[in-house]
Structure formats: C-alpha cells, structure tokens
C-alpha cells in the first residue's frame, strides 16, 4: 500500500529520467529501467508464490509464510525510492507505515487481513513497476496506463483496510511482549513504546489516506482525461 502510494512521486521521477535522456542521462535511465524491471519481476514472483501456495494448501492460512522473504526483500528494496518520496512527504510516511507492520507481523501471519493487503500491494506494484519500465522505454501501452490509474480505486482502500486490520490484530501481542520497545531507566535516557507508536500510525491514516486517494483521483482525471479528449477529436 505504502509503496503504491509512492506512485505519484515515482511518476515525477520517471519524467525526470526521460528528460535527462538528452544529456548524460543514459546511465541514470539504464539504472532506472533495471530497477523497475527487477521490482516488477520481484512482485510477479510474490504473486506467483501466493497463487501456488493457495493451490497447494487449498486455503488462505499460512500463505504469508510462503512469500514472507521475497515480500520483505522487495518492500525494503523499494526504500531506494525514498529520495523521491521525500519530495512528497506523505508518501514517505506511507513507506514508514508499510515498513512498520511488515516487521511486526510476527504474531498475525495467518490473519485474513494479511492476505488482503498483500494481494492489494502485489497487484498494485506489478502494474506500477511495469508502468515505469514501459514509460522509461517510451513504449507505454495504454492498458498499463489505464490499469495504473484505475485499479487503485479498489486496491487502495483494500490495502489500507488490510493494513489497519493487521496492525489492530497485532496490538495485543505487542503490548504483552513489549516488542521493539525500550523502557527507562537505561544509560541512554531514552524510551520507545512500540504499542503507542502503532496507535499513532493507525491514527495517521485518517489524514493521510484521503489526501493520497484524492490526489490519485485528480491524477487520473488529468492523465486519462486527455486521451479521452484526443479520441473524441479523432
């Protein structure tokens, strides 16, 4: 979800990269293409892993275990996009949210909410990274563009719900075990309560999610609206 939220900032990055092509941008472009191809492939691996695990087990439970490693790897790897995320601060916060519950999923791995957001992320990321890959190569099929700016309408709420439910489910465990928490006294005179932090994260969804969602809707009107006009003219 958080990575998907970054979609808007990555669009800017993609544009910058294609503008850079005129100058010494060939290296930057090559790096970006490779990065996006790798990410697309990675999320495809996760998607395939999910489908295969479901077919093998016949149920949704324990699905998370089968894709845990690649999921953590690619979600963390997307931190490379943080530089661009910092331009749009809300996307950075979403990245924090994404990281947060990924690394706290110890107790809730069999929850349905996990399946919810993992599915939402997987589909979103595959579309998003292929969108960037094709954009960089200047050969973007309309279908991909349409998918990117339409699927989010369902996938974003799906992902956010999944995330929130997962965090909520993890709260009792965090409180009981004091996961990732530091208490006083200690020689660094510092304390951190992961439980309180998670609650803050949940609250932060309230202002952040609508902003992001409506931003994407506006982007959609702008990006898809133009092509509709052109087709009318023709």
């Amino acid at each position: 979800m958080s990575a998907a939220a970054q979609g808007t900032s990555k669009a800017g990055h993609g544009d910058v990269a294609s503008r850079k092509k005129k100058g010494p941008g060939a290296l930057a472009t090559a790096y970006l293409v490779i990065y996006n191809v790798v990410m697309t492939a990675g999320w495809l691996v996760i998607a395939v892993g999910l489908v295969r695990a479901y077919l093998a087990r016949g149920s949704y439970h324990g699905l998370y275990y089968s894709i845990e490693k690649p999921l953590k790897f690619f979600q963390t790897g997307a931190l490379l996009e943080v530089r661009e995320a910092l331009r749009l601060r809300r996307c950075c916060l979403f990245r924090v949210q994404g990281m947060t519950f990924l690394w706290s999923l110890v107790s809730v791995q069999s929850e349905d909410s996990v399946l919810l957001f993992v599915t939402a992320w997987t589909v979103t990321e595959i579309i998003r990274y292929s969108f960037y890959t094709f954009s960089l190569l200047n050969h973007l099929p309309y279908l991909i563009k349409w998918a990117r700016y339409t699927f989010f309408i369902v996938l974003y709420p799906m992902g956010v719900s999944g995330e929130l439910l997962t965090i909520y489910a993890a709260l009792p465990y965090v409180q009981k075990t004091g996961l990732y928490s530091v208490t006083l006294p200690n020689k660094y005179n510092f304390s951190f309560d992961y439980y309180a932090f998670l609650i803050l994260v949940m609250i932060s969804y309230i202002p952040l999610f609508p902003q992001l969602y409506f931003h994407m809707i506006r982007q959609r009107k702008k990006v898809l609206g133009h092509t509709e006009d052109y087709s009318k003219v023709e």
Binding site: L184, P185, N186, K187, Y188, N189, F190, S191
Partner: protein
C-alpha cells in the same frame, strides 16, 4: 532561525525611501527634459484578472512604491504580503528594483500573488525561544500530569539535572535577548504558517528532551563528573563564541544600511574562527549542543543536535554561496560551517 539564514534567503533589501505618487495633474512642465511616465498594470497571477491600472508612475519608482500604491487600492494586501512578478513562471521581484531598469516597455505588466498573512522575523524568533524556555522549566519542576503523581513537584537528586536546566535556560534567555537587542534583522517577513511549523519543532523538541533529562529514572552520564564537566566547558565555550560572532556581525553594518561586508576576525579570540569558516555562529551553536549532549548523555538531545546540524549546514552553505557570489575577493580558505570539512 538565524539572521544569517534570512539574509541568504531574503530577496528584499532594506526599505527604500518612499516617493510620493505623482498626481495626474503634474507640475507645469518648466523642466527642459521630458520624463516618460510609465503605466503599470497589475494582474492576478492565477485568474489573470486585471486588478489595478496605475498611470503616470515615475520611472524611478521602486517595486516597493508600486506595492504601496497597490496597497492603497487593496488595503487587505499590505506590501509585505505581495509578490509581484514580470513573468508568471519567474521569480518575485525584489522591493528595491527600479521600474526603469526592468525589462519592460512603458506599459509594464506585473503578476500579483498573495503570500498570505506575514509575520516579522522578530516575532517568530521570540515565540520559538519562549516556548522551550517555559516548557523545560515545567518538566524541571515536575508539574503534575507529566510524570507519575508521586513525583510531582519533587527535585532530582542528580546535580547534572540542575546544571542542564541552567544551561538550557541560559541558552534560550541568551537567544531572546539577542533577538531583542543584538540582531540587526533586515526588514523581512515570513508567512504565518511558518510560525506553527517552527514553533512546533522547537517546542516539541524541548519537551521531548526535558522529559527525559528531568525524569525520575534519569541515569547520569557513564563517565561521571569528568564527562559532565567536559560537556559543560564545551557548552560554555561555544555559548561565548556564539555571542561574540553575533556581536561581530552586528558591528559589521549600521542600522538600515544596505551595504554588504565580509566579516573578518576582530580582537576577540572567539572571532578568529572567521579565518576558517563563513558562518561560525552555526559552528558554535553546533558545539553548544554537542556539549549539552555529552553533559546529559541523552539520546533525544543527540537526535536534536543531529537535526540542528543538518539544518544549519543547509543554511551555512546557502550563506557561503551568497558570499562567494557577492564578493570576488572572498577568502578561499573558508568553509561554510566546519573548518576544512564542510
């Protein structure tokens, strides 16, 4: 946060003298040369709606004069909150620019945008500093609802906690007094929302630090009295240094003067760092906070110091760059904030 920062950023210079609006009924043309009056049209940047048409504007009028005229027709938009541009995508014009030197014909079009309510730098500085001062003391005296009720109004048994309170309070008192009496803040303003951003940051940081230092379960520094003394000496040294630099910068120019000068070391040894650094006030400020961190051995303080370092480096680099641009003979040995390093 600091005067040097605002001077590097600010496009507005000191106020220029106001000229009286030439009245449509001009004086009888006794002068031999003809003055070509300008016509100024002010257009809204977003809506492109024509807001005001000024005729018979003197060619030697400055942008500030035009803003003053605009203000007369639109009392809500005082000059500090106006941004006038020649090109919708260009930068805002500085107040001291003269009409006839601008690349316009005799009919000039300016694009206006509203910068929003403005506050003077002095106001913002003071609010930024008063908050931490008071908040820290609230934690120091352990007012109710902060810590566990059994600790209300108790005092810490550690000497370093009292020392830290004195240092922190001294630091912000010094800053308040400097804002009132020392800093020559060239006339500049900032948007209203900045005060919320800045104050939020300062006040929350101060509360966060104060919470841990004054906590009943506070642990004194690992290396004991030696570490506390070292931290204290560094802090005091850098406070004196910081003050010396502020005085030196104040003495550089007289009130209202627009002339920019390169700061040089004076007889005061604390200013000798000017040989190596463009913005030693930031260097000393960083030093003070490092001293405070060592003295209290507290992670939130270390974190605050780190953030302050990053922010001051950004400001110092900006100021250093503007010095280099302004003065051809600027000393090459100087770095922006850390000697030889940054």
């Amino acid at each position: 946060m600091d005067i040097l920062a605002l001077e590097a950023k600010s496009q507005n210079g000191a106020e220029s003298e106001k000229k009286s609006t030439p009245k449509p009924k001009a004086k009888p043309p006794k002068k031999a040369k003809r003055i070509v009056y300008f016509e100024v049209e002010i257009v809204d940047l977003k809506t492109k709606e024509k807001l005001l048409l000024l005729d018979k504007v003197e060619p030697t009028a400055t942008v500030l004069d035009i803003k003053a005229l605009f203000h007369k027709s639109y009392p809500k938009w005082y000059p500090a909150r106006q941004s006038l541009r020649l090109d919708p995508k260009g930068k805002s014009l500085r107040d001291e620019e003269i009409l006839q030197t601008l690349p316009v014909g005799t009919t000039a079009s300016f694009y206006f945008s509203d910068l929003g309510p403005q506050l003077t730098w002095g106001t913002v500085f003071l609010s930024e500093c008063v908050g931490p001062l008071i908040l820290y003391l609230m934690f120091y005296f352990r007012l109710p609802f902060i810590y566990s009720p059994k600790y209300d109004f108790t005092t810490s048994k550690h000497w370093v906690v009292h020392l830290a309170c004195m240092c922190h309070s001294f630091h912000y008192m010094k800053r308040i007094l400097e804002t009132l009496f020392v800093h020559r803040i060239s006339h500049g303003t900032m948007p209203l929302r900045n005060i919320f951003k800045n104050c939020g940051y300062y006040w929350c940081s101060a509360a966060w630090m104060a919470y841990y230092i004054n906590h009943p379960l506070y642990t004194p520094p690992y290396y004991g009295q030696q570490q506390i003394n070292t931290g204290l000496y560094i802090f005091l040294f850098c406070q004196v240094g910081n003050f010396s630099i502020h005085i030196a910068l104040r003495n550089l120019k007289s009130q209202g003067s627009k002339v920019k000068k390169i700061p040089y070391p004076t007889k005061n040894p604390f200013t000798w760092i000017f040989w190596l650094v463009s913005c030693p006030n930031y260097t000393y400020e960083l030093g003070s906070w490092i001293g405070f961190t060592v003295m209290t051995q507290c992670v939130p303080v270390a974190f605050f110091t780190l953030v302050a370092f990053v922010q001051m480096t950004v400001w110092a680099k900006g100021k250093h760059r503007s010095y280099l641009k302004e003065f051809r003979d600027y000393p090459t040995l100087r770095s922006s904030i850390l000697p030889f390093i940054l």
